[in-house]
Amino acid sequence: MKKKNLGIRLKKYWPFYIMALPGLIYFFINCYIPMSGLILAFEKYSVSGGIFGSKKIGLQNFKFLFSNADAWIMTRNTLLYNLTFIVLGLVISITTAFLLHELKSNLSRKVYQTVILFPSLLSVIIVSYLVNAILAGDTGFINNHILIPLGLEPISFYSEKKWWPFILTFVHFWQMTGTSCILYLANISAIDTSLYEAASIDGAGRLQSFFKITIPCIIPTIVTLTILAVGKIFNSDFGLFYQVPMNSGAIIDVTQTIDTYVYRGLLNTSNLGMTAAAGFYQSVVGFCLVFFTNMLVKKISKENAMF
């Protein structure tokens, strides 16, 4: 009985399966086949053996990977940059959203928002050009128009490590503040204005109502976004860490993340196993993080959970 029922239903719904098919095939090829390729992490890859036929060597690749300082450096960098982005990002995007919301003039709000959002339209390559125009040793703005006129030594940024944590953090916020403050702005705008009126009748100042009304009202969003960001803490923006420092070898200690390590490893196929192991490490730890953080989100606000 049930089987026949299913048959009838399938007959009725076949056009939908046809419509879904291109997308499903794409997901299968683009996402699911590569998942099976994770097996490369346990193999000594050879061209003749291919992905599935190469010799299995167990955890050898991981042993090599973690016996090496690279693994520690890239993990440290990925985590520290992401933590900085999360913590500073909260302060910067909430403050920006609050300032935009407090503006009396709708027109100026729109203008500022358009300007701040603009960098998110630019590709990492263009951003690298902008950074280069400012930092370049010979033609850069800082050396030519700030340091030399002040009688200071020019700095060759692309070979000095100590600047890059700040530069990369600045570039990240330069490009992302516009997009990350949008959700907070939408949230702050949705707060019932009578709360503020009541507070101001009771004599609360602007700062007081910010901390006692605005912040508590957007706490669910803050928590959700933060947890989701923690879930992605093992990933990094490849372009920001590879392209913006112009792939400079001298500063690799502070710019190497897991993503750049994997790409650099891919250029050198003799070591494919270790690169695959690094990729496996990122995928699996990343998955666990997303999974657990999502469970947390689900407990706090159901509608923001992914599954």
Partner: protein, 294 residues
């Protein structure tokens, strides 16, 4: 009270003006330097107040075929990619809204799971190059990681669920319209806001993509505008070196490489700057939803 408020408004404006200046400063530097003579850039560095204006760099771009060629590649890829991915994304999302569809739960899960777990770069690279042989083909710019993603499926699906009343679909079915007709003649026309949203995001993705080119393209004929800029970033003389002696009537040695790559960067930004005002509303909407789900 009024006075205090004025003070606060001033502070708001002041902070936001400082932020806007920080945002605009490097962009202005790029624009202005692209219009400066090469010799000034070498002598004085990139500057906001140029000693003189000079459009040689732009003239070279118009004379030099390979810049046009890259531009053309990027336009074709962006256009085709955006259209195809809108189609694939809306069709799959629409299917996932049909409540009684057998297997709907499994299909949704398969789409969603790709957001949680991925094979990463190494297996993808191996698959695309050894199984599908897309190295140095136009497919490499269109397909890997670009055509369709779970996040766009999710925002499109929730748009359909909230904005397409099932009653009109039902009445169309009763009138004897088939499912394809309903989708293309009724659902899509009602969905222009979401099509604009994901369309703009897709176009932006394709226009700005340089990674696929980095991974899969070595052929000079398939270098798009971002890839061209990337090559020129690491090697200022890339363009001069890549010109054939035969095709150039110009003096290769005198190409203003420094200002020219800035001019190409400017030209590379312009299409998105033009589209941005029209799509800003949709873009912001997509970002608001995307901040949580993405």
């Amino acid at each position: 009270m009024v006075r205090k408020d004025l003070g606060f408004q001033t502070i708001c404006h002041l902070v936001l003006i400082i932020m806007s200046v920080l945002v605009l400063f490097p962009i202005a530097l790029l624009f202005i330097s692209s219009m400066s003579p090469e010799s000034d850039i070498i002598k004085y560095g990139y500057s906001l107040v140029p000693k003189s204006f000079d459009f040689t760099a732009y003239k070279y771009i118009f004379k030099e075929g390979s810049v046009f060629h890259s531009y053309f590649i990027t336009i074709i890829v962006t256009f085709t990619g955006t259209i195809v991915s809108i189609l694939i994304t809306t069709m799959l999302s629409y299917t996932l809204t049909v409540k009684e569809l057998p297997g709907r739960g499994i299909l949704s899960f398969l789409v969603l799971f790709t957001m949680l777990f991925s094979g990463g770069l190494v297996p993808s690279y191996m698959m695309w190059t050894t199984l599908f042989h897309i190295k140095n083909t136009i497919w490499a710019l269109l397909v890997p990681n670009m055509l369709c993603n779970a996040f766009h499926i999710m925002i499109t699906r929730s748009f359909f669920q909230n904005n397409i009343p099932p009653a009109i679909l039902e009445s169309a079915r009763i009138d004897g319209m088939n499912e394809f007709g309903i989708f293309f003649k009724m659902v899509l026309p009602l969905s222009t806001p979401i099509i604009a949203t994901i369309g703009f995001m897709k176009a932006l993705m394709y226009w700005n993509d340089w990674t696929n080119s980095l991974y899969y393209i070595t052929d000079k004929n398939l270098v798009g505008i971002q890839a061209l800029l990337n090559n020129m970033l690491t090697n200022v003389k890339y363009l001069a070196q890549s010109m054939d002696a035969s095709s150039v009537a110009t003096d290769v040695a005198n190409i203003p490489s420094l200002s020219m790559r800035l001019a190409i960067a400017v030209v590379g930004m312009i299409p998105m700057i033009i589209l941005y005002p029209f799509f800003q509303k949709y873009y912001m909407k997509g970002l608001t939803v995307g901040a949580v789900k993405g």
